[in-house]
Symmetry: C2
Subunit: 417 residues, 2 copies
Amino acid sequence: MDLTRSAAEALDAADPLAGFRDRFAGVDDGLLYLDGNSLGRMPLETPAALARVAEQEWGRGLVGSWRSWIDVGTRVGDVIGTGVLGARPGEVLLSDSTTVDLYKLLVAAADARPGRDVLVCCADDFPTDRYVVAGVAAARGMAVREVPADVDEGLDPAVLYAALDERVTVVVLSAVAYRSGALADVAAVTSAARAAGALVVWDLSHAVGAVEVDLAANDVDLAVGCTYKYLNGGPGAPAFLFVRRELQEQLRQPIWGWFGQRDQFEMGPAYDPAPGIDRFAAGTPPVLAAAAVEVGARLVAEAGIGRLAAKGRAMSALLVALADEHLAPHGVALASPRDGARRGAHVTLAHPHAWQLTRALVDRGVVPDFRTPDRVRLGPAPLYTRFVDVWDAVDRFRALLQDGGWRAYPEERTRVT
Amino acid sequence: MDLTRSAAEALDAADPLAGFRDRFAGVDDGLLYLDGNSLGRMPLETPAALARVAEQEWGRGLVGSWRSWIDVGTRVGDVIGTGVLGARPGEVLLSDSTTVDLYKLLVAAADARPGRDVLVCCADDFPTDRYVVAGVAAARGMAVREVPADVDEGLDPAVLYAALDERVTVVVLSAVAYRSGALADVAAVTSAARAAGALVVWDLSHAVGAVEVDLAANDVDLAVGCTYKYLNGGPGAPAFLFVRRELQEQLRQPIWGWFGQRDQFEMGPAYDPAPGIDRFAAGTPPVLAAAAVEVGARLVAEAGIGRLAAKGRAMSALLVALADEHLAPHGVALASPRDGARRGAHVTLAHPHAWQLTRALVDRGVVPDFRTPDRVRLGPAPLYTRFVDVWDAVDRFRALLQDGGWRAYPEERTRVT
């Protein structure tokens, strides 16, 4: 691989997605923003979409606008589902937070497999996933099998398969590991779990908009995910959940609310879950926030997940090669799978002083994020990050290691996201 | 009571809150908007607040803005709690939807009273309240006692008290009934339930911003509520929950997520709920939507709940008197408590053709809402509705009844909110 800056420039010149960069705010501010995997950039269209929903639909249309808002969860859900995730229409609902959606689907799945008493998750999965599993297990008197993962290489499928037996009811797993970026084999794990009589709830938070997920082709049953990362839906944007069409009527989620009710405005005496994906809704949908999600998801769908994933793989390959060349000599180790086919779109590096390095990089105009215990996570979002940004970021990282400027930063960690 | 239009104009001229009307969008559009109890009007400041959070905090500040966003749930929660509800700081959290918040607190309360197996709610309460109670009871093998209420006069406290015994763990009740507007005696019910060893979760959705709730003075333990009605937070705006300070550490909610975790960014292996109200959070807070809630809640706090409640009582008294005078002769009956001390800020009227009347009123520039089976609900929000609007609305209602124009509308109901 040609690791010169001009080679990176050439990749940008040939990038079919290059034009999308100009549709985001702040891209000319000189910042090398490599934290799109934590909070995606703001699409330039978003403020106008928010203003339209606020001023016209709410301010002028008032309560009458519910005629168009009533199905916002499924409308934006379909943009994500059919536009980005390879789902069929009516399989994805925008609703609640990833945490709440995971809770709903996990309980629904566990209820659908009575007599089984073990939940499986990954010991290195994102905290909310592990905590939700622990909470559901505690409430139901179930056991949790936390399958160990290599913190750099991700979960070994053989280790997971060994944990699947006739006691297992649900497996919760991230398609892309939040720390290492390790990519799971969604089809194989889903199939193995099904063969063992269990259901998998996939957390797509670090996958959606970054890699091909192909929910239908991979025969996925259940999934949840976040819209404020690669979907650029805004801070704390509502999450989504996916339930395969054939499973919908078999499942019931535990939070019985009026937006999950059949003939909702009859306000009938007993809860009777709506047909289809609506039954997985609980309360009133977040209309304002959904407008921002819709803008972000439509941009991703327009770019095309195939092209985005290909660019993501190319950028992370460049990042790994540059890190090997320029950062490894300074004691920075790759903490993601080396095999590009086993990675999502972000790359993680390890260094004993990762916290100080992260703070120093931010002050030098490179925004990665820190993850415990000693990780610097770099997420070049393919929709608006250039190859040359990756090159420049590694170059500044190299300079920082060479000049030792990070040593001036306190070792003690402060609260960050 | 002087029921002339000029008397209504005089009330407006003497209204200390009159100036707040000019801080809302659309108030000069000629519409008599009496559905602020369903969806409050948009404050004029809201679009700018949304734009600021989107363009500056998100677009420019990017992930670094989490330094100010991280406590958005408690910051806006305190605006509602201390500014509107008479709570102490750190007792209210903006989070999730009313449905999800009710679920969290109901399960937390039930877990805190082991050995008891009955949940109590009101048979005429809002659907989501009844459904959440039914769902939690079904999941836990508990029984539900649905206490009957007079659909017009509301719940008779004696009937409720008779349902309280040593089996009852939690009572769920609306402070203001969604259909009739009947106002519960929050202090008395809370005290009676406590004497029976039970906890009450109050639903404040139709009370917050409309009547004095005085959570601390009334010694309330638990409450949830909606911000898109009298708080004017926008369609589907996030809800709030209240947990009395002394109870917080005794309770655990069931959806264990990373925003409820102590030292969240340590991402530790086991869930350990944060001290204080944060433990009732689940996922990432809705930052964009919270900005709109903050604007609306600050306006209500600025106006003062005492003044708002007084104006609400005066407006609903006028509305009842005008309805008696001009609508009752046409077969429209009061379907709210006649005693103003037993009403919230909205008034409900009954007529066999309520659906057609509601549609016809909308087309004549009066916006009430329809509620099953035969109710027209009129909610003059005290923050931006004038006494003369109430007068004009009843006058148009009277004219409609006189000319029979509503008969041209189909009897069959279509989906509405």
